[in-house]
Amino acid sequence: MTATATPATDSAPVRQDAKSPASKGSKGRRSVPYLLTVGMLAGLVLVCLVSAGIGAYKIPLGDVIGSAQHRIGLGGAALDRVGESVLWNVRFPRIVLALIVGASLGCAGALMQGVFGNPLAEPAVIGISSGAAVGGVASITFGLSFFGNWTLPVCAFVGGLITVFLVYAMSRSGGRTEVITLILTGVAVTAFGGALIGLFIFFADNAEVTQITFWQLGSLAQATWPKVLAVLPWALVGLAIAPFYSRKLDLLSLGERPARHLGVDVERMRVVLMFVTALLTAAAVAVSGIIGFVGLVVPHLLRMLAGPGHRFLVPGSALGGALVLAGADLTARTVAAPAELPLGVLTALIGSPFFFWLLRRTRRKQGGWA
């Protein structure tokens, strides 16, 4: 790249000799993402280890680490047959599934909020999870199996994708989405989704009804490695594409036209991100039914702590979502042991009050909805 190809270098504002303004105010904020990342990673490792040890069959922390070392060939020692089986066929798939679902939900929440330019957007709130659930229930009711293990995720993806575009088309006007329109669209879509699910349950036989009910409550209790493999690719593809759009999401917060003036192909970005959100939501919903509020709470907390820049927010929300869901699942299966709370119930119990608070805060800032 030669100097001749660069215009405007000597135009007015530049010519005045310049020192970096890089204000003091933003400096403190810049180190926060690193601290948060390290903190969340440490928390994640801790929760995973604790989660692997605690349960009806207790495994000491040292043994968990030893067994893991043994499997990857770094010394350590295998446990007895029962312990090894509990750890590797019950606990670990469940933990991995919790991480996948949490990361998907957190990341999908951050993307939705960025695309809609609205901190209240979240797959469950605006009805995308509901749409994915309709797809999932349909696949159970009609006993579909055209893609084997992948049938349910595929159906959930199609359901989620249709819903994303529906909600988007219905709730936007003039390049922005008003909170009220978004929430009401979500209410309408969720209601319609509920009706469809009810209809499918009506047509289902008893065994299918039981299967649907368990699935809908939102639980990771049935985790197995094949289930992990059924959703892992979807989540990975979604999580891999999302960070490429971080910078463009920052620009989109200026509005659609200004983002285009800064070189963002807004239409294409929107389509890609809708696709990614549907992928992530489908991955989460396919294994665990509707788990709400993770995608709402996690990005919001991170935004308050580290600022709204999406370069941290998008991967950070995936990490935070994984941490929150792994922690929530640990709580769900230990707090009322030997019984197990449905995970979706637990996250909703904690998430709903937060949603209330967020609504009131937004309302105060805007001085009403009308």
Partner: protein, 276 residues
């Protein structure tokens, strides 16, 4: 999808241009918004090194013309050319290196800091050699618009006039040779109105083309090289302020008796509504 991820690498950087080169032009431009013909056959040019002011009453089509030059709107008839090429022939990334646009209202969905907002103006240069100057360019743009002291504050905590200046700083930081400003002075106090127009003059002196929508005819007379008076979707008059600002013409266009007289000391034209 893959192509969109890596598209950044294949942008054509703008070449430096001689003063007087046409950077943006519209020919026989017709634009319909809904059922209304907002522009009905407009011809206009913006050349490197000059400030063009678009004036006219509300609803005359000023902002629509600016949006068309910004390639936000597709013409129903006629053509818009940017840097010698049809507007549709550029990619979004290439256009962003050639024209910067200041919208009428500055909105922001999330509480970014002022410095982060100005930094967004550098996004088009990401991945080019010029991205190395980002910090200096941002500092200079913030100084030029007097927003340096707000750098560490959230954008949402600023007043309307302060936001408008931050938005302008972002546009300046983009360093595009064509600047399209929609009412940059609307929310500003007297001092900052003058400041903004002086910045426009400086950019023109440095070889950029500046197109600015103004309501204050006095400002247009004092700072613009050329003025285009829009009336009902057509250009009623175009030329140097001294030729165009004529009491009879302005009175007809604005449907309000207007007086134009030279300043007793400087000779710059002053425009007043006739009162009582």
């Amino acid at each position: 999808m893959i192509r969109s991820l890596f598209a950044v690498r294949h942008r054509e950087l703008p070449e430096p241009v001689e003063p007087g080169t046409t950077l943006a032009s519209a020919e026989a431009l017709h634009i319909k918004l809904g059922a209304r013909h907002v522009l009905r056959g407009v011809d206009i040019e913006a050349r490197a090194g000059e400030v063009v002011a678009l004036v006219g009453p509300n609803g005359a089509g000023k902002s629509t013309l600016l949006a068309a030059l910004a390639t936000d709107l597709t013409p129903d008839a006629g053509t818009v050319r940017i840097c010698g090429r049809d507007a549709g022939a550029w990619s979004a990334g290439e256009l962003a290196l050639r024209r910067a646009v200041l919208p009428q209202a500055a909105a922001l969905s999330f509480p970014f800091l002022v410095e982060e907002v100005v930094r967004m103006g550098r996004a088009p240069w990401n991945g080019t050699a010029l991205a190395d100057n980002d910090d200096e360019v941002i500092a200079a743009a913030m100084r030029a618009t007097e927003v340096t002291e707000f750098a560490g504050r959230p954008f949402s905590a600023l007043s309307g006039g302060e936001r408008a200046r931050v938005a302008l700083a972002r546009v300046l930081a983009q360093q595009a040779p064509l600047l399209l400003l929609d009412e940059p002075t609307a929310a500003l106090d007297l001092r900052h109105q003058e400041l903004v127009l002086r910045v426009c003059r400086e950019r023109a002196a440095a070889g950029d083309a500046v197109v600015v929508v103004l309501h204050d005819l006095g400002l247009a007379a004092a700072y613009a090289d050329r003025v285009a008076v829009l009336h009902d979707g057509t250009i009623a008059a175009e030329g140097a302020p001294a030729e165009v600002f004529d009491g009879a013409l302005l009175s007809r266009v604005y449907r309000q008796p207007v007086e134009v007289l030279p300043h007793p000391r400087t000779g710059t034209l002053l425009v007043f509504p006739e009162r009582g």
